[in-house]
């Protein structure tokens, strides 16, 4: 840590402190929590891009899978959900998986020629209809089960903390599937393939009501272990006397304590991720990764299995993103598939990595906290500035239009920041050593 870097971090800390003092500490802390989560996602992207040069534009999909894991693991079980069609559902999914497996097997084992193409086609088409025949009635049965409140298979009712690694696992499985097909092709293709898979994951979560109720959302997911509920705190005599003793309003104090609890939890995970990836980066494995990134041909000539290493780091990075996605859904207490937007969950994370300094975890941390703050603060300051600009204008449609559009200023701001950093400081605020 050089003096310059410490100054940069102090500057970002001052931004959060200023928000706390001039607006409210509640706002400052909720921005911090969101920024911490986005930073963990950015660390995942940094592993893929900074260490290995892999261009993943599917961050949103892995975030959403992490959120799905929270619902499947920690939501309360749905009465009658499993009985309605759980077994049949799994049978259907197994049929689908077996079809694809069989098709791949046929492709690999059979001799090249028309017969092989025909066999694969027959397996795929037949398997698809079989899958739909088994799967559709199960879905209909589950969705018919009290659709106003449930209509899904329900979760396992396990603690939220258990869901986080499961979120990482789901994301890792998806990354493995996409990596096996798209890695080893040129970099733009991976970008387009991941962009597509993310859209598909999110549209599946919107439409497959049996899974997580789709756009009807699942609410009241449990909080992770040490974080208390505000109402519980406000009823604790110990907490009340502590708050009044310091002269705090108990309601505000309880919300701040809850946010601080989240912040420390997320901070702990963040530091753990940084620690592990720094250790990995300094190990022979990390040197090998950078060697592959800087010169694939030379690394391959030295006997390194480039495609395999790429797959490995792609899965690792995606798992980190999935964990962050699960943490986010835990904090929100609800899964709302309608709100996943690639600009917010994929490209903003990329801005964080590039602005902070790709290939440097501390840079990514700085970029994440800075951009995370900016993203949410432009939303609250933008209308204020626009109000100042338009104050002298006569009332009318044009003024109203300008005021309405102020809310969209942040995309423009992010784009301009990204372009400025790329142009004038292409290695980011804290460059890779």
């Amino acid at each position: 840590m050089t003096k310059r870097n410490l100054l940069l971090f102090a500057g970002v800390a001052a931004l959060y402190a200023a928000t706390g003092m001039f607006q409210s500490w509640n706002l400052s802390l909720s921005i911090l929590n969101t920024a911490l989560l986005a930073t963990i996602m950015a660390l995942g992207v940094n592993m893929q891009w900074g260490y290995a040069g892999l261009f993943n534009t599917g961050v949103m999909g892995f975030v959403a899978l992490g959120g799905l894991a929270v619902v499947l693991v920690s939501a309360a079980p749905t009465p009658g959900g499993w009985e309605a069609g759980g077994t049949r559902l799994f049978l259907g999914l197994a049929t689908g998986a077996a079809t694809i497996g069989l098709a791949v097997l046929a492709w690999q084992r059979m001799a090249k020629g028309r017969l092989r193409s025909l066999a694969v086609l027959v397996i795929l088409v037949g398997g698809f209809f079989l899958y739909r025949a088994v799967f559709d009635p199960a879905v209909a049965a589950i969705e018919a089960n009290n659709p106003a409140t449930y209509g899904n298979i329900g979760g396992l009712g396990l603690p939220s903390l258990v869901a986080w690694p499961v979120g990482g696992l789901l994301a890792a499985l998806a990354a493995c599937a996409i990596g096996k097909t798209a890695l080893g092709l040129r970099s733009d293709y991976l970008a387009i393939a991941t962009l597509g898979i993310a859209e598909i994951i999110v549209s599946a979560m919107r439409n497959e009501d049996w899974l997580a109720r789709g756009v009807k959302n699942i609410t009241s997911l449990p909080r992770p272990w040490p974080v208390p509920y505000e109402v519980d705190l406000q009823q604790q005599p110990g907490f009340l006397s502590w708050a009044t003793g310091w002269g705090f309003d108990p309601v505000t104090a309880s919300t701040i304590v809850v946010k601080l609890a989240y912040a420390s939890l997320f901070g702990a995970v963040l530091l753990l991720v940084i620690l592990l990836s720094e250790l990995a980066l300094k190990s022979p494995w990390g040197r090998m990764m950078r060697a592959i990134r800087d010169n694939e041909v030379a690394a391959e000539a030295m006997g390194k299995d480039v495609t395999r290493r790429h797959l490995q780091v792609f899965i690792l990075g995606s798992a980190v993103i999935g964990i962050a996605g699960a943490m986010m859904t835990s904090m929100d207490g609800q899964l709302t598939p309608g709100t996943y937007n690639p600009l917010r969950y994929t490209f903003l994370v990329w801005v964080m990595v590039i602005v902070g300094g790709s290939g440097n975890n501390w840079g990514t941390l700085l970029g994440g906290l800075l951009i995370g703050w900016l993203w949410l603060i432009v939303e609250s300051i933008g209308p204020a500035i626009m109000g100042g600009i338009t104050a002298g204008m006569p009332e009318g449609a044009f003024k109203q239009h300008l005021m309405d559009s102020a809310a969209h200023m942040r995309l423009l701001t992010m784009g301009v920041i990204l372009l400025l950093v790329l142009r004038f400081s292409p290695r980011g605020l804290i460059p890779e050593k």
Binding site: G53, F55, F128, T181, A182, L185, R186, S187, D188, Y189, A191, I192, A193, L195, G196, I197, E199, I200, S203, A204, R206, N207, N341, P342, L343, F347, W350, V351, I354, D404, S405, H408, M409, R410, L411, L412, T413, M414, G415, V416, L418, L419, L422, R423, P426
Partner: protein
């Protein structure tokens, strides 16, 4: 008679919409593929360029409509199209001068240029939202149908009607004209030839005295023009919503890659492959099958392979299949 009815139902619900959609995708994919061929990167801002041009066209259309100027039976937006193209070309050339040129001179890696285009995408997305907001806009006016389903039924006496919307007819006609003009330009004019030379072998083209700045400029102008035409046609045919245009990026890229990146003919073929697969897979075939099959075999369900919510998945699957089995696309594209 049943067979004719089945054929008409197929044309009405599958072929006509897919041809129009395919033409729109092809125009978009042509822009992507030209930029890839000449500037050698995948332009992620293309969807937002389409959205920007369409937004300008919509605002001009509103202006024309309130001034009482119409285009007879054709949509007023067609009158606004040339101005919208000019504005968009201006913006894109400005972007190239301010943003891309720096990296081109540095000979930056394609991945860096893609990230730069992400920045441009953010900025354009922001501008579109500032200009027109995020809501859905319908700006088609004029005659709605060339042939309406009712007229067709009375004229032919069939049970099924064939409707052709004005916007669909305009889409196809415009696409044919634009594509013919583009290929004439690329094959016959000096500038077009120098563009193809530049795309084939940059060093050799420079050596023979081709001015790279001019080639790049012309490429941006053509790509922006194609993007605005594609965007306005899509908006007339369906409706305009900035986020939908961003999402069009996936089928457009799929079309360009399926056809072979950098290959204009491939982009057109790819557009129709993607459009037809999307419509065929998400159409409920019950009606057509009921006509064709004997009563005993008539289907009970909708016979829809995938719900329309998954139409993005169709382009994606085709993309993956092509990447796995023919990485350079159906027509030989480049793989830099």
């Amino acid at each position: 008679m049943d067979f004719l009815n089945a054929l008409i139902a197929f044309l009405n619900f599958v072929a006509v919409p897919a041809v129009a959609y395919g033409a729109q995708l092809a125009l978009g994919a042509l822009g992507v593929t030209l930029i890839y061929g000449i500037l050698r990167f995948s332009n992620f801002a293309h969807g937002d360029t389409m959205a920007f041009g369409t937004a300008i066209a919509i605002i001009l259309t509103w202006g024309l409509q309130s001034a009482g100027i119409g285009f007879g039976p054709l949509p007023t937006a067609l009158l606004a199209l040339p101005v919208a193209i000019a504005v968009t070309v201006g913006l894109v050339l400005l972007t190239d001068r301010v943003v891309y040129r720096f990296y081109r001179r540095q000979k930056a890696a394609p991945a860096i240029l893609v990230i730069v285009s992400l920045g441009v995408m953010f900025v354009m997305n922001g501008i579109v939202r500032l200009v027109i907001g995020v809501e859905e806009q319908n700006f088609a006016d004029g005659e709605r149908f060339v042939i309406s389903a009712g007229d067709f039924k009375t004229a032919t006496g069939l049970a099924e009607g064939l409707a052709i919307k004005t916007t669909q007819a305009i889409t196809v006609v415009t696409a044919v004209v634009v594509v013919a003009a583009l290929f004439w330009f690329l094959q016959k004019t000096r500038t077009g030839k120098s563009m193809r030379a530049f795309s084939d072998n940059e060093d050799l083209a420079l050596l023979s005295g081709i001015n790279p700045d001019r080639v790049v400029q012309v490429t941006w102008i053509i790509a922006a023009g194609l993007a605005v035409i594609a965007g306005v046609l899509y908006g007339l045919d369906k409706s305009f919503r900035p986020f939908t245009y961003f999402q069009l990026l996936l089928p457009i890229f799929a079309a360009a890659i399926v056809g072979g990146l950098g290959n204009p003919i491939g982009a057109i073929a790819g557009g129709f492959v993607i459009a037809f697969s999307e419509v065929i897979v998400t159409y409920a075939w019950k009606k057509v099958l009921t006509y064709v099959l004997p009563d005993s075999l008539a289907p009970d369900g909708l016979v829809q392979l995938l719900s329309t919510d998954y139409k993005l998945a169709v382009s994606f699957v085709i993309l993956i299949i092509v990447l796995l089995f023919a990485p350079t696309g159906l027509f030989k594209g480049k793989s830099v």
